[in-house]
Subunit: 333 residues, 2 copies
């Protein structure tokens, strides 16, 4: 019936003042060992847990950060393990810092307004934003709000104050260099959506490497990460460039489809055509043949986003981070 005990009750039980009890709970200085011990015992006996609402009211801190995932319909979220993986990384970093995670999904008009209210309703100490198309309204909202924020995945054409991203361009470059090194000469690509930085960056990497090698970079078909778009793109490539000897797909999901289309066209992978993907999702190990692909440290991405945000909320200054990618060679190239 007591409900939750208050600090006042703790203080009374320990025979000290509320001020002293508070100091102990927040392990501040200026408390005698004796008093501290008494308070600690009282806390333990009463199972006292501070009321966070009351605490926030005075400290202006909430021990909570938000993760907003937007710029795509919920279907994408549900299907791409990418998000879960990022969240695991975030969770790990926040657990270390003892912070809570508030999740905000979607990006409808309604949602933007909700997030705006959330940000100004004194609930969170910072915000992480994930995977947005360049024109995501949340991006502007978050950067404008005077609350620490970190963007996961650079938006297209914008340089946010604080962001973490994988080295998409470098990863693509590595992939192509590997193909070139293995003697491939007629290399094509299925790009990602070119209204997102990931799409553009991987495409740029493709061109970088081919230009550097003095090979043509004109065998291009555009996809949008969806299997359907990949099927169309691969078919088109085969149609226009029947002699191509390698394909770099900007995502494993698309590479996997490319594999199928190639097989159906009677080509052997990797003998006739080499295929390289991007992401190194679990899927990559289970295609036939297993996919050579560019690993991107998704979990680290989340981890570093959260760590960066934590640093920001402490008033530390940080700079954006590009995480390295790595080519994982399996059987498809």
């Amino acid at each position: 019936m007591a409900g939750q005990p208050t600090i006042e009750e703790v203080a009374r039980r320990a025979g000290v003042s509320r001020g002293t009890a508070s100091r102990v709970v927040n392990n501040a200085a200026h408390v005698s060992p004796r008093a501290r011990e008494k308070v600690l015992r009282a806390v333990d006996e009463l199972r006292y847990v501070p009321n966070q609402a009351a605490r926030s009211l005075v400290t202006q801190r909430h021990e909570t950060v938000a993760l907003a995932i937007s710029g795509m319909d919920t279907q994408d979220f549900a299907e791409h393990p990418f998000f879960s993986e990022v969240m695991v990384g975030i969770g790990a970093a926040l657990a270390e810092a003892d912070l809570e995670l508030l999740l905000v999904l979607g990006s409808t008009a309604r949602n933007v307004d909700q997030l705006r209210r959330r940000l100004s309703s004194h609930r969170v100490d910072g915000v992480m934003l994930l995977s947005l198309h360049g024109d995501d309204p949340l991006y502007a909202l978050v950067e404008r709000a005077d609350i620490p924020s970190v963007i996961g995945g650079k938006p297209l054409g914008i340089e946010p104050k604080h962001y973490v991203d994988a080295d998409n361009r470098g990863g693509a470059r590595q992939a192509i260099e590997y193909l070139v090194h293995n003697g491939r000469k007629r290399i094509a690509t299925i790009t990602g959506p070119l209204d997102m930085d990931v799409g553009v960056a991987r495409y740029d990497g493709f061109r970088d490497a081919l230009n550097a090698a003095g090979l043509p970079a004109n065998r291009v078909a555009h996809g949008d990460f969806s299997p359907e778009s990949a099927a169309r793109a691969m078919t088109k490539l085969l149609d226009k460039y029947p002699t191509l000897d390698a394909v770099f797909a900007a995502a494993d999901s698309m590479a996997s489809v490319a594999l199928t289309v190639l097989r159906e066209s009677g080509r052997r992978v990797p003998d006739d055509v080499a295929v390289v993907g991007f992401n190194d999702r679990p899927l990559a190990q289970h295609t036939t043949p297993p996919l050579t692909t560019v690993y991107q440290p998704v979990r680290s991405l989340g981890y570093e986003m959260a760590r960066m945000l934590v640093a920001l909320t402490k008033g530390e200054s940080v700079s954006s981070l590009i995480l390295p990618t790595k080519l994982v060679v399996r059987k498809s190239a």
Copy 2:
């Protein structure tokens, strides 16, 4: 420099008392249209947003519920789209109710303690718990705490006060009945983990249907949802029952591997051996041949969990829910 405006400032600007302003914001009764309108305008001009911490302190409500995902290592979370899908459903229901979602991942000892503190630190109005092994310590913790809670997926051997689950047993039964109906007589199963209710329920459904049909239900190999376990199980089944003509795998991920093992053993699917999975994940459409599988309404699961919790927090009484599953026939059976 003003920071956030307070209700006091709103009141002053509107030329009314704090009490009246508050009534308007919470659209309570006993406010004249004239006063209401003035306050509303002031709110708008000042971009006033109530301070949730202050509000919680007095109302004892937080407009926030928690989702705890536990009973498995983070790897599982990252790989199973199941969780994302549930979260999408939850997100939809919470958006309707205008509630926030606090996410708690993992289930280490440290975590249990964190959750315990969270529950008693006045931050959330209710908790949802997802996918636990029967002995998950969080389960006991949540049921004991006097805070509304909903369990997603019944824990093994326990009947929680409030839970939502898919009809795993019925779904498995349907799958087997379909196989029987198509003339399959030597039907085997690769089970899920038998320390989880899903595993047991699907296995029970398998036996139900075979018993009802007067067919033997002894062709059983145990898996744990992982591809590796499925490969071992399928190999073992083939070894012990080389003449089997159908396999029911308790998850698509395992069915997909079974397909591969069967193909490598020289059997044709579905001609020689029919294969049915469970879940209807996107994966199911892309296997060769496309997988016949039992659809479970994962998003609805999340949606109903959240709705149930919302009802509970309002003091309404609710009863647990079993959501129907449905056989989706493709090419593998």
